[in-house]
C-alpha cells in the first residue's frame, strides 16, 4: 500500500465527537413489547382512545409481518423483546412548562451538540424541537411562529392541542401497514415533531428537530408529521446524535410530509448517529421510513440528506407526485467508513401529469464501508409527460470498501422521459498528488476532493447546515471565492 493511501485511511479514522452520555435520571419502561407496553405508553402520554386503538391495530399488524431481508446490509437478528420502548428524563415535578424548567443537564447536552435550544438561538434564526430519548424537551420560538399561524410543537402536544389535524394526517402518507418498521413505529412511537403551515404562509424561519438517543438499550421511535397548506412554504432540518455504546441501538422513525396545492416543503437531514467503533462494534441501526405526498397541483417536496453516522442506515425518503405539475427532489450524500453499511436512495412515484423528479446521490465509501444506492422511479399510466433525471455517483477511498447501485425503473406511460446516469470513481492518487504538487497537503487535498464530489448536494442544504455538513465530513469550507 502506498503512503498516500495510508494517509487517506488515517484521515477517515476520525473519532466520534458526540459519544458522551448525559447523567440524568430516566424513567423507563421495562424492556419488551406487548399490548400492555403500548397501553402503558399511551397512558403515560394521556392519549385519546382513538390513538391507543390505532397503536394497537398497528401492533397487531406488525405481529403478522416478518423483518425484511432484501436490503444489502447485514446485521445480527434484533431481539425486539430486549428493547426498551419508552424512556424519558425523570421529571422533577411534572412536565416542564417552559424551557426554564427543563433539566439544566439536558440543556447542557444540547449546548455540547451545538443546538441553540435556549432563546439565544434567536440569533441563529432556527426554531428547534429537541427530542431526548423519547420525549420532546422543549420547542423554541413557539410564540413567533404562532403569530404567523405556524404550529410547531412536539407530537404529544399536537395530539392534545390539534387532534383534528393529527387524526386527519397521521398515517395518511405512511400507513401502519406500509412495512415492518413503519408498523413497529406506529405501535410504539413516543414523540416527535408536528408542524402545520397555514395557507399562503411562508414560514419565517428554518424549523429544526434535534434527536438524541441517551439511555442504553433504548429504541428511539419518533414520528414527524409536516403539513404545508396551499401555497405555503417551509424548510425543515433534523439532526441526530447518540452516545457511544457497545450494543446496537434501534432507531425506527417515520416521517410524513403533505404538500397541498402550490406548497413547498424542503426537508434536510444531517444524520450523525453513533456509527460503531472501528471494528464495527456498537452503533445505531437507523431504519427509517420517510415519505412525502405532493398532494396538490404545483406542489414541491425536496429531501436533502447527509448521512454520515449509524452502523446501518436503511432509508428511502420518497415522493408521491400526485398533484399535476408537482416536483420531487432527492439529494443525498452518504458516507460509510469502518464497518458502516448504508442502503439508501429514494422512490419517486409519478401519478400526476407533468410531474418532475430529480435524484442526485453521492455515496462515499472508506475502510470496510458498504454503500448502496437503491432507487425506484415509477411512472404510472396517468402521468403523461412525466420526467425524471437520476444521477448516482460513488467514490471509493481505499480498497476494502464497496459501492453498489440498484436503480429500478418502471414506466407505464410512453410520453414519459427518464434519464439515469451513474459513475464510480476511486479517490485518485493522481488527484492527491496534483494537489500536493500545488502545495496542498494530503489531508486538505482529501477534504477538497470529497467536498467537490458532494458539492451538488451541499448547495441544496440551508446555509447554516451546509456548513455543519461540510465540517461533519471533515472538510474545510470551500468557495469563499469564485
Amino acid at each position: 500500500m502506498s503512503t498516500a493511501t495510508e494517509t487517506i485511511e488515517d484521515l477517515v479514522k476520525t473519532e466520534y465527537k458526540y459519544g458522551f452520555v448525559t447523567d440524568v435520571e430516566t424513567e423507563s419502561a421495562p424492556p419488551g413489547l406487548s399490548e400492555d407496553t403500548i397501553r402503558m405508553i399511551s397512558r403515560k402520554k394521556n392519549e385519546p382512545e382513538w390513538l391507543t386503538e390505532w397503536r394497537l391495530k398497528s401492533y397487531r399488524h406488525w405481529l403478522t409481518l416478518t423483518e425484511p431481508a432484501w436490503q444489502k446490509a447485514h446485521h445480527a437478528k434484533i431481539d425486539y423483546q430486549a428493547i426498551c420502548y419508552f424512556s424519558q428524563p425523570k421529571p422533577k415535578k411534572d412536565a416542564p412548562k417552559s424551557l426554564d424548567e427543563v433539566d439544566p443537564k439536558l440543556l447542557e447536552t444540547y449546548e455540547k451538540l451545538g443546538i441553540p435550544l435556549r432563546e439565544r438561538g434567536r440569533l441563529a434564526g432556527v426554531a428547534v424541537d429537541a427530542i431526548f430519548d423519547s420525549v420532546s424537551v422543549g420547542t423554541t420560538f413557539r410564540k413567533q411562529l404562532a403569530e404567523k399561524g405556524v404550529i410547531f410543537c412536539s407530537f404529544t402536544e399536537a395530539v392534545h392541542e390539534h387532534p383534528e389535524l393529527v387524526k386527519k394526517y397521521l398515517g395518511s402518507v405512511v400507513p401502519y401497514t406500509d412495512n415492518f418498521y413503519a408498523a413497529l413505529n406506529s405501535a410504539v412511537f413516543t414523540d416527535g415533531s408536528f408542524c402545520y403551515i397555514p395557507k399562503d404562509v411562508r414560514c419565517p424561519m428554518e424549523l429544526s428537530t434535534y434527536f438524541r438517543i441517551n439511555a442504553a438499550n433504548t429504541g428511539q421511535f419518533e414520528r414527524t408529521l409536516i403539513v404545508a397548506d396551499d401555497a405555503s412554504h417551509v424548510s425543515y432540518l433534523e439532526g441526530c446524535t447518540a452516545p457511544m455504546r457497545d450494543e446496537n441501538q434501534l432507531h425506527a422513525a417515520v416521517v410524513e410530509l403533505v404538500a397541498m396545492e402550490g406548497a413547498e416543503i424542503k426537508y434536510s437531514t444531517v444524520q450523525n448517529w453513533y456509527p460503531g467503533d472501528e471494528n464495527g462494534k456498537g452503533g445505531i441501526y437507523n431504519f427509517v421510513t420517510k415519505r412525502g405526498l405532493c398532494k396538490g397541483r404545483n406542489s414541491k417536496i425536496t429531501w436533502t440528506q447527509v448521512e454520515t453516522g449509524s452502523a446501518i442506515t436503511w432509508k428511502y425518503p420518497s415522493c408521491i407526485l400526485q398533484g399535476d405539475n408537482s416536483v420531487g427532489e432527492f439529494y443525498s450524500v452518504a458516507v460509510t467508513n469502518n464497518y458502516q453499511q448504508a442502503d439508501t436512495g429514494t422512490k419517486m412515484v409519478h401519478i400526476g401529469k407533468n410531474t418532475r423528479s430529480t435524484i442526485i446521490s453521492k455515496g462515499i465509501s472508506a475502510g470496510h464501508g458498504q454503500n448502496s444506492y437503491r432507487g425506484l422511479v415509477k411512472i404510472q399510466k396517468s402521468a403523461t409527460h412525466a420526467r425524471n433525471f437520476s444521477q448516482c455517483d460513488s467514490m471509493l477511498i481505499g480498497s476494502k470498501c464497496g459501492a453498489h447501485t440498484f436503480p429500478y425503473i418502471e414506466v407505464k406511460n410512453t410520453t414519459a422521459s427518464v434519464e439515469h446516469e451513474a459513475s464510480t470513481s476511486k479517490i485518485g492518487e493522481d488527484q492527491i498528488f496534483y494537489c500536493n504538487q500545488r502545495g496542498i497537503a494530503t489531508q486538505d487535498a482529501v477534504n477538497l476532493i470529497v467536498n467537490g464530489f458532494c458539492k451538488e448536494v451541499f448547495k441544496e442544504l440551508p446555509m447554516e447546515f451546509a456548513v455543519e455538513a461540510q465540517k461533519l465530513l471533515g472538510v474545510s469550507l470551500e468557495g469563499s471565492v469564485g
Partner: protein, 257 residues
C-alpha cells in the same frame, strides 16, 4: 556565477525494481532554460515525477540538491511550497472544486510557508486578473471546476496560468506540447517565456523539437535509456529534428563499442 538552483547528481531511480534512470547528472542555474529531449521510454517523465516527489519511485543511488537543500528529503507539498512547480503532461480533473478556490488555497500555502500573510479574496482576485491578462486567458475557465471538461489546450494553458500565479523558482514542464495544435502551442509558449526571469529556471521536457522553436533553451540534453548521452546548445535540438534520435542512438552504440 550564481549558486545553482538544481543539482542532480548521478541519480538512479526506478519503479518496482525496474531501473529507469541510470545515473543522471544535471546542474541548472538561475536564469537558465534547459531542455531534456528523448525518445519514448527514455525516462523523461520519470525524471519529472522524481523531482516533484510522486509516490512509487525508488531512488537507488545519487541525489538532488535544490537551492542547496536535499530535495528528495522533502514531501511533495513541501517541494511545491519551496518553489518547485510541475506543469503536468496530463493535468488532473478535480470535479466540483472551483479553479479559483483551488489556486487561492495553493498560493496561500506557499505564502504561509514563507511567513507571508495569506491573501484575502479581493487581493487574490486582483492578482488573478493581472496574471490572466498575461496569459490571455478567458475568465470563465476560472469559474469552472479544476480542469473538468477542459480541452487539451485549455488544460495546458491553465497549468501555465497556475505557474504564473504561484511564481515558482524552478518550473518543470512535462511534455507541455503534447496534444496542442500550433496556435495553442504558441500561446502556451509565450506564457512560459513571459515568466522567465533572472532568478528562476525552467526545465522543459519534450519529445519533439517544435516546442523549442517557441521556448528557446540555453541547453539541450538528450536522454536515452535513463542516461544523458549528449548535451549541447539549442542547435542540438535542431540537429535532432533533422537527423532523428537514431543518429544519437547509433552514436551511443558506437561509443559503447
Amino acid at each position: 556565477m550564481s549558486k545553482p538552483i538544481l543539482e542532480i547528481k548521478n541519480l538512479h531511480a526506478g519503479v518496482e525494481g525496474k531501473q529507469i534512470l541510470k545515473g543522471i547528472s544535471l546542474t541548472i542555474h538561475p536564469g537558465e532554460v534547459h531542455a531534456v529531449m528523448g525518445p519514448n521510454g527514455s525516462g523523461k517523465s520519470t525524471l519529472a515525477a522524481v523531482l516533484a516527489g510522486r509516490d512509487g519511485y525508488d531512488i537507488t543511488a545519487g541525489g538532488v540538491l535544490y537551492q542547496g537543500k536535499d530535495l528528495l528529503d522533502l514531501a511533495p507539498e513541501e517541494r511545491a511550497r519551496e518553489g518547485v512547480f510541475l506543469a503536468f503532461q496530463y493535468p488532473v480533473e478535480i470535479p466540483g472544486v472551483n479553479s479559483t478556490y483551488f489556486l487561492k488555497a495553493a498560493l496561500n500555502e506557499v505564502r504561509k510557508h514563507h511567513g507571508q500573510p495569506e491573501l484575502d479574496a479581493m487581493e487574490f482576485l486582483t492578482l488573478v486578473k493581472e496574471k490572466m491578462k498575461l496569459m490571455e486567458l478567458k475568465d470563465d475557465l476560472l469559474k469552472r471546476s479544476v480542469n473538468e471538461g477542459f480541452s487539451g489546450g485549455e488544460k495546458k494553458r491553465a497549468e501555465i496560468f497556475q505557474m504564473a500565479v504561484l511564481d515558482p523558482k524552478l518550473a518543470i514542464l512535462d511534455e507541455t506540447d503534447s496534444g496542442l495544435d500550433i496556435d495553442a502551442l504558441k500561446v502556451v509558449s509565450q506564457g512560459v517565456n513571459k515568466l522567465k526571469s533572472a532568478d528562476n529556471a525552467q526545465l522543459v521536457i519534450t519529445h519533439y523539437q517544435r516546442l523549442l522553436n517557441y521556448i528557446v533553451p540555453d541547453f539541450v540534453h538528450v536522454l536515452v535509456d535513463g542516461r544523458i548521452v549528449k548535451s549541447g546548445g539549442k542547435e542540438l535540438a535542431l540537429e535532432l529534428e533533422a537527423r532523428g534520435y537514431d543518429w544519437i542512438l547509433k552514436g551511443e552504440a558506437a561509443s559503447v563499442v
